[in-house]
């Protein structure tokens, strides 16, 4: 019985996006594709325990979903013949640009992450259509009501249909911008899992980080030569590798320097390092995710925090600032500078960021730590207070509170 349940879960992970994508391609309608796929999985849950798992679960599910879709279209077209017309494929089999990868799931991802949709909608739609998460799961992950999440997805599907957001891999000209849009969606999903916000949630939502990694792996198999795809995957793997060491048994955040490095996942680190080395070997200029992955590779290469090659970390941040001169990057660079040139130099750099980062908890947490190291307890305490006020993650709040209360 548990074997069957496992087989269904596995089929859901492996086949959901493929089934939805194949149906969208055939019927040109995300709604029909999604609902028929869901019905096919419901039938599998009912039948497989009695009939056994079919030899090719994917084909079985696609056939079942296709039947449901055809039934549905027949039922609905009796009501309204015009709708049938609207359901004609709007892909109209335009010739694919040379070199573009023809994979159904890739089409689906690009449609869900279309820039004409709001960012939060892209995230929800990708998790539903590509990830197969249920509406309550998505609603819970982003702390919105189920009804509101349902409306958001319904609105998005209506816009895709009415405005004819195409179901295909973007043209060569649009591709780089669109890929980076897809990666932004996946990075957002990962970060929400990695630093979950909200008082009632677990500090780390492994379901979301795992889903983001799974989808990024999928993109990587579809676009194996894209450096930023590899970079983002490496960044996620090297971050995920530290998950077990990142929160103490008491639910407190453990900073990089204090983590038990023996608890890091060596397989994920090896895979992440391999990807970073692979990108370095191409000699091509790295993008933002590749640089962030490289920084994480330096950290995870040190067996002890004292072995960290801080000059390398600072050099990578310098490279990152040239690509992305944002105050948040400057803040992270300053944290590395503190290790290389001391907290006083770092504090001066951090203080210059006040105007733009005064509402950001990490700015105050960084200042608090630097002031503490400089023995300036009073200002440090005030900075901790401000950081605690602004932090949304329960593990982080617990860590900051302990640090503050330890001040002399």
């Amino acid at each position: 019985m548990s074997d069957i349940r496992e087989a269904i879960t596995r089929a859901h992970h492996e086949e959901w996006a493929r089934v939805v994508a194949a149906l969208t391609r055939r019927f040109g309608d995300l709604d029909i594709a999604e609902e028929s796929a869901a019905e096919a999985f419901a039938i599998a849950v009912e039948r497989w325990p009695a009939d056994g798992v079919p030899p090719n679960p994917g084909a079985w599910l696609t056939t079942a979903a296709n039947r449901r879709a055809i039934d549905r279209i027949r039922r609905e077209s009796k009501r309204d013949d015009k709708q049938k017309e609207a359901r004609m494929l709007y892909d109209d089999a335009a010739p694919e640009p040379a070199g573009a990868i023809d994979d159904e799931r890739l089409r689906l991802i690009f449609t869900c992450c279309h820039p004409a949709l709001a960012m939060e909608t892209r995230v929800a739609l990708t998790l539903r259509m590509v990830g197969g998460l249920t509406m309550p799961e998505i609603a819970r992950a982003f702390l919105v009501g189920e009804a509101a999440m349902g409306r958001r997805i319904t609105r998005a599907k209506a816009k895709i249909k009415a405005a004819r957001i195409p179901y295909r891999v973007p043209s060569e000209q649009d591709l780089p911008a669109r890929v980076s849009g897809v990666l932004a969606v996946l990075f957002l999903v990962f970060n929400e899992g990695y630093l979950a916000t909200g008082p009632g949630t677990d500090p780390v939502r492994h379901d979301l980080t795992a889903e983001a990694i799974r989808l990024t792996r999928l993109i990587r198999t579809l676009l194996p030569r894209d450096g930023e795809v590899a970079g983002l995957l490496a960044l996620m793997l090297l971050t995920e590798a530290r998950r077990a060491a990142r929160v103490s048994p008491r639910g407190e955040l453990v900073t990089l320097g204090e983590q038990d490095r023996g608890a890091w996942d060596p397989a994920l680190i090896a895979e992440g390092h391999h990807l970073v080395r692979e990108r370095l070997a191409t000699g091509m200029p790295p993008g933002r995710y590749q640089i962030l992955a490289a920084i994480n590779a330096v950290h995870t290469s040190a067996r002890d925090v004292r072995d960290t090659d801080w000059s390398q970390v600072v050099a990578l941040y310098d490279q990152l600032i040239r690509l992305d001169p944002s105050p948040i990057v400057a803040l992270n660079r300053a944290i590395a500078v503190a290790e290389l040139d001391g907290p006083e130099v770092a504090l001066a750099a951090v203080d210059r960021l006040e105007a733009s980062l005064t509402g950001y908890h990490a700015y105050h947490a960084t200042r608090a730590d630097l002031l503490r190291r400089l023995g300036r307890s009073g200002p440090s305490r005030a900075a901790y207070d401000r950081a605690i006020e602004l932090a949304g993650n329960t593990a982080e709040t617990a860590y900051l509170t302990r640090r503050r209360d330890q001040l002399g």
């Binding site: 709007y90 109209d92 009415a162 405005a163 004819r164 957001i165 195409p166 000209q173």
Partner: protein, 107 residues
């Protein structure tokens, strides 16, 4: 599939000579590539008149139906197979007329 590409602007005054020339080049391309349906530039919003005959007693009032800083300065109606094609054309149109545009599908 037809899309309305609305030109949005917030200042009085017509397109400059350079902008007009760029718009002409863009229009010629729309025609040549089979995207052209119709296009037009509008006089400033202050020239608008609103008429309401819903109740049978027609009411004529001066001015645009909404007062806002941004207004419709002109439009294209284009033919495109899908939104990606429409967005690419709209991006070129925005560049040509040097104004922001909105893309909206016809039903």
């Amino acid at each position: 599939m037809q899309y309305l590409v609305s030109v949005i602007f917030d200042q009085a005054g017509l397109a400059t000579e350079g902008e007009m020339a760029a718009i002409d080049v863009f229009n010629d391309r729309l025609v040549a590539e089979g995207h052209w349906v119709f296009a037009g530039g509008l006089a400033e919003p202050g020239t608008a008149t609103v008429i309401d005959n819903r109740g049978g007693a027609e009411m004529i009032t001066d001015g645009p139906f909404v007062e806002s800083k941004e207004f419709l300065a002109g439009f294209w109606i284009i033919e495109a197979p899908d939104l990606d094609v429409a967005l690419r054309l709209a991006a070129d149109g925005s560049r040509a007329c040097n104004r922001k545009v909105e893309v909206r599908p016809f039903r």
